[in-house]
């Protein structure tokens, strides 16, 4: 797991005092989060129907009440260790722009709320492969929480076709 050099969080001042809520979840040992407004629902793991010629991180599609929902394995997408899905895993259904996709994660852990200015951009030194996916970092109770950039995480049309 990547450990990024820690910095003191900026004390909240100027603007960005408003508390924003984030859904945090666990993949392996690390904690990630996404803005709660983009989360549609959380559901238990169901077996996916795999898609031919799909990139490895696309687990396949599931039936979400009559619509076809593509599911991205977040661990694989972020370049983390690959794990076989188990029943305890969950699928977070996110809505980005006009696209709805499922993210398979190990478990959902918490709903966090912090202000915008508690967030720091990831330092440039981060060489980890998942760096572009992390939009910001913050420290909460001595834990580092990574905020994911869903726009980047969700595969684009070209990536799928590739």
């Amino acid at each position: 797991m990547t450990q990024i050099s820690e910095r003191d969080p900026n004390p909240a001042d100027t603007n960005g005092h408003e508390q924003t809520e984030f859904l945090s979840f666990r993949i392996g040992e690390s904690e990630y989060s996404v803005e709660i407004m983009s989360v549609r629902e959380i559901r238990g793991w169901t077996k996916t129907t795999s898609l031919p010629h799909a990139p490895r991180f696309v687990r396949g599609v599931i039936n979400l009440r009559g619509t076809v929902l593509p599911v991205v394995d977040l661990a694989m997408r972020l370049g983390l260790d690959e794990t076989e899905p188990e029943d305890r895993n969950v699928i977070i259904v996110v809505d980005v722009g006009s696209r709805v996709m499922g993210l398979r994660v190990d478990a959902v852990s918490d709903i966090l709320s912090f202000t915008r200015d508690q967030l720091q951009p990831p330092p440039d030194v981060a060489t980890s492969s998942n760096a572009p996916f992390v939009k910001a970092l913050t420290i909460l109770d001595d834990r580092m929480v990574r905020l994911l950039d869903l726009e980047v995480v969700l595969p684009t049309g070209e990536e799928i076709a590739a």
Binding site: S50, H53, G66, V68, G157, A161
Partner: protein, 738 residues
């Protein structure tokens, strides 16, 4: 702008589309050589209504243009302007421009005023008017007046032996002016009751109503106020009416209505001034004079108009109560309006209904599956009820699909525009013939077909039809013909695009394909195979890239689009006679009959219409052709074998053994490919769930569906799989051809 206003505006634009459709329809009829007045009137009314609505919303560009358009059309309507092919072509171009203007106004985009002004200028050149293009506003005011100018202009000249009809019931000029504007007045009835009429218990209202039964009436009250109220004769009659009746009925019908009022009123039935309205030319006409005749002689042609009279134009004067001139009689009858009542429904609501029905079908599948698992005896009431339920579901589904179905007419109309533009671009004279416009197909398909059809039509104009000189040299008519036909055929919709051009130059096609390395140098191909080369990516026959086509993207894209709709495309071409492309599409895009198969543990659905037959392989069917290659021998034909699991990347290739199950599919006309599957599970109707929006296009997969157990199964695009499978394409074609 407030919301209600926007709503009204939105519905205006919807109406505009309909009106525009009617307009193009009428113009097309005219282009086909039917210049009857009803057609012109339909076109005129459409433009007029668009203008009216646009005026209400202050859409000035639209008003200005449609006004000029309408003016010239009105001149035709009245016979002042002879309808020539040239004029109809101009009208059609104006129709196109009108649709552009409507679209711009709707989207709030700036209009291409240069182009519209150019057309306005052309229009006015036809009308011989000088005031074109400039101030539409002024034109609006000016135009109706010209009716009187015209008259006055002609009356003194009197050279045509027109009788000078006595003025009746003088009206202030404004009244006449307004009078002239309602669309297509056919007969003018001046009706002024005498006191006796009232005394005998007659009621003018009933008479007016009876008039209204004949057709649309524009009723105007003529009221002469007494100078002094005390002078008012209480029993006297001061009210009179001027009624413009748009009717097909002869004036005698009007006499019939007033039969009982004869002698009790002043009645005057006259021919209209329809001939006069549109001539905007006579600027040198004298000032309008108050003394204007209601009964207008059919205006002779204004001298500067390049015209000849059409046959239907009344050449005779129309004195009161004379038989209505043919030109005017059918003017306004709303014969076209015989449409069964319809409801305009938001497409989104229908989509929701379709989705719900889809759910219902899935649910029903789940139910039948669980009932099957419970091993309930087949003759139990539950099973019988389920059967009935299935029947109902199917009926509901079919009905819902019919709601989505729309006639292809709108699509074909768009194509007529493409033909016009394309033929103008390459300077060929082309006529578009459409057939089966009422054929209904799914709305989504109509939208998706627009692009491929546009492309095919352009191709047909550019490549399909020979240059005019060649046509004449070959003894064909100067004008090329492109036929666009739609029909239902055995559960599918077939759309054909054909031209009467030179046919596919196969030699050229072959040599180009060789040059571009699309086929091996030494390959000898049959005609059918050569035709198929047109669908290869990167193929283009045009020696030079023209403005229209020939950029090498083309038929392959067309084919992909058609295939993504679940359709097929075929070519038929005879040298010297023409080329025909047939597109065959499934009737609905929401449900299909599929075969449920399993491959490498995955459940898949193969559309039933792509399966030619299913085989259980025997030893003698399989013939090895290489170390790792086997072909299937089916009825003396060699067919390549694909392992579906491998093609979809689910597993490494299996060794093909006897007993394996193969689906024989036909990716294109005449070609066959066998696909190995593990088991065949079922054959059933499945609801198509698109994956394009949520995920994107997956190679070899047409869509997804939900099975009875709630799992998603992919619906395969069998042709796509067969064609993308490496090395298959040409082998298939050649072996099949042997």
């Amino acid at each position: 702008m407030s919301d209600p206003m926007q709503e009204i505006m939105a519905s205006f634009f919807v109406e505009c589309e309909e009106l525009h459709e009617a307009l193009i329809d009428a113009l097309q009829t005219m282009a086909d050589g039917e210049h009857d007045n009803e057609t012109i009137n339909v076109a005129f009314r459409a433009v007029h209504s668009i203008k009216g609505g646009a005026g209400a919303f202050g859409l000035e560009d639209l008003v200005g243009f449609s006004h000029q358009f309408e003016t010239v059309m009105d001149a035709c309507r009245s016979g002042e302007l002879a309808i020539s092919d040239e004029l109809v072509q101009l009208f059609l171009r104006c129709g196109d421009m009108l649709s552009d203007l409507i679209r711009c106004s709707r989207d709030g985009e700036p209009c291409d005023t240069a182009a519209s002004n150019a057309l306005i200028t052309e229009l006015s050149a036809f009308a011989g008017a000088e005031e074109a293009g400039g101030e539409p506003e002024e034109a609006v005011d000016f135009q109706p007046m010209t009716l009187s100018f015209d008259d006055l202009d002609d009356a003194p000249s009197g050279g045509d032996g027109l009788p000078d009809l006595p003025p009746l019931d003088p009206l202030p000029p404004e009244a006449t002016t307004e009078e002239a504007t309602p669309s297509g007045s056919a007969l003018i009835v001046n009706f002024k009751p005498e006191p006796e009429l009232y005394e005998s218990g007659n009621e003018p209202l009933f008479l007016l109503r009876s008039l209204a039964d004949l057709g649309h009436c524009d009723i105007k009250l003529n009221f002469t106020a007494p100078d002094n109220l005390s002078d008012l004769d209480k029993l006297g009659v001061r009210l009179g009416w001027q009624v413009a009746v748009e009717t097909e009925s002869p004036p005698s019908a009007i006499d019939e209505i007033f039969e009982f009022a004869t002698g009790l009123c002043q009645l005057d039935v006259s021919a209209p001034e329809s001939e006069a309205t549109a001539n905007t030319a006579n600027e040198d006409a004298p000032e309008p004079v108050a003394e204007i005749s209601e009964v207008q002689p059919p205006a002779p042609l204004a001298p500067e108009l390049p015209t000849q009279l059409t046959e239907s134009t009344p050449a005779k004067p129309a004195p009161a109560a004379a038989p209505a001139p043919a030109a005017a009689a059918p003017a306004a009858t709303k014969t076209t309006a015989k449409v069964s009542p319809t409801v305009r429904v938001d497409l989104e609501r229908i989509e929701r209904l379709v989705n719900l029905v889809g759910e219902l079908v899935i649910n029903q599948a789940m139910l039948s599956q669980s009932i099957a698992e419970e091993s309930i005896p087949p003759n139990s009431p539950v099973a019988a009820g389920l059967d009935e339920f299935m029947q109902l579901t199917r009926n509901i589904q079919e009905s819902v699909m019919m709601i989505r179905a729309q006639p292809v007419k709108s699509l074909f109309q768009r194509m007529s525009r493409i033909v016009r533009e394309a033929s103008a671009a390459v300077d060929k004279s082309v006529r578009l013939v459409t057939e089966g416009e009422t054929t209904e197909i799914d709305k989504t398909a109509i939208e998706c077909l627009a692009d491929p059809l546009t492309h095919m039509i352009r191709n047909a104009v550019d490549h399909g039809l020979e240059p005019t000189e060649t046509r004449i040299a070959n003894g064909k008519s100067r004008q090329g013909e492109i036929r666009l036909a739609a029909a239902h055929r055995s559960g599918r919709v077939v759309i054909e695009v054909s031209d009467d051009g030179g046919g596919i130059n196969r030699e050229k096609v072959h040599s180009i394909a060789r040059k571009k390395g699309l086929v091996p140098e030494d390959a000898s191909l049959t005609d059918g195979e050569i035709d198929q080369l047109l669908f290869l990516p990167g193929f283009s026959t045009a020696d030079e890239v023209s403005a229209l086509s020939g950029r090498g993207v083309g038929m392959d894209v067309v084919k992909t689009q058609i295939t993504s709709l679940g359709g097929r495309i075929a070519i038929e071409s005879t040298p010297g006679v023409g080329t025909k492309f047939s597109i065959s599409l499934p009737l609905t895009l929401a449900v299909l009959d599929g075969m449920v198969v399993t491959v490498a543990g995955e459940t898949l659905v193969v559309p039933l219409n792509s399966i030619v037959e299913t085989l259980s392989l025997t030893e003698s069917d399989l013939r090895p052709v290489g170390p790792n290659q086997v072909v299937l021998c089916v009825r003396e034909k060699f067919v390549p074998v694909l392992d579906l699991g491998k093609e979809l990347g689910y597993r490494d290739a299996l060794s093909i053994e006897k007993g394996a199950i193969a689906l024989l599919i036909s990716p294109e006309e005449g070609a066959l490919v066998a696909m190995l599957v593990d088991t065949i599970e079922d054959q059933r109707q499945v609801v198509i769930k698109g994956m394009q929006e949520s995920y994107g296009r997956v190679r070899g997969v047409a869509a997804a569906t939900i099975l009875g157990d709630g799992k998603i199964a992919l619906i395969l695009d069998a042709s796509d799989i067969a064609q993308s499978a490496s090395g298959v394409k040409f082998d298939t074609a050649r072996k099949e051809a042997s």
